[in-house]
Amino acid sequence: MILLRIIIDALFLIGGFFALAGVVGVIRMPDSYCRMQASTNTATLGALGILAGTSLYGFFVLNSLAIGVKSIVIGLFILFSNPVASHAIARAAKRCGVYMLNKSGCDQYGRDNPQ
């Protein structure tokens, strides 16, 4: 039982650490596109780490199948929906003409289809 607690705490720590890293990235990054990259980090690793922890918690500690399976379903949904949303917002930002710091430099989308 102690081992289970250690595993769940480790998952919470991992999720919390990546969420913190993502939020600091969203606040501190110089450029809109870098902030986008940091925000996906929050949603994917931050949420998946904690949801894995709650699913383990639901399966073993609470012995309730509903909580475990539902948190796995939410994790899968976030895993599939987050890349699509980030791609949509990134392309909209590029088409909308959002300022891009020239230091980030690799503007492949602009090279492929010039405005």
């Binding site: 949603a43 500690v61 909580i67």
Partner: protein, 88 residues
Amino acid sequence: MTGFNVELTITAAFYGLLCIALLYRVIKGPHAVDRVIAGDSIDSMTVVIMALFGALSNRAVYFDMALIVSLLGFISTVVISRYLEGRS
């Protein structure tokens, strides 16, 4: 295993603080895109807080709400990006 609620509440409170920290980018964000990004991150944080609270109070209904909030967050991001694309 009664002492287990401590981790859940601490993690939920930590995510709540992160949500408040994200509000800075929502307010300051120079372009609408930054606000959408911060809003999307706040949505996924709310999903995590709901999941933690559902596990804390042993009620599976919070996980359904978390799924709905995550769905709405995803749809709102896609729809706003469609709007921004049209208004280039």
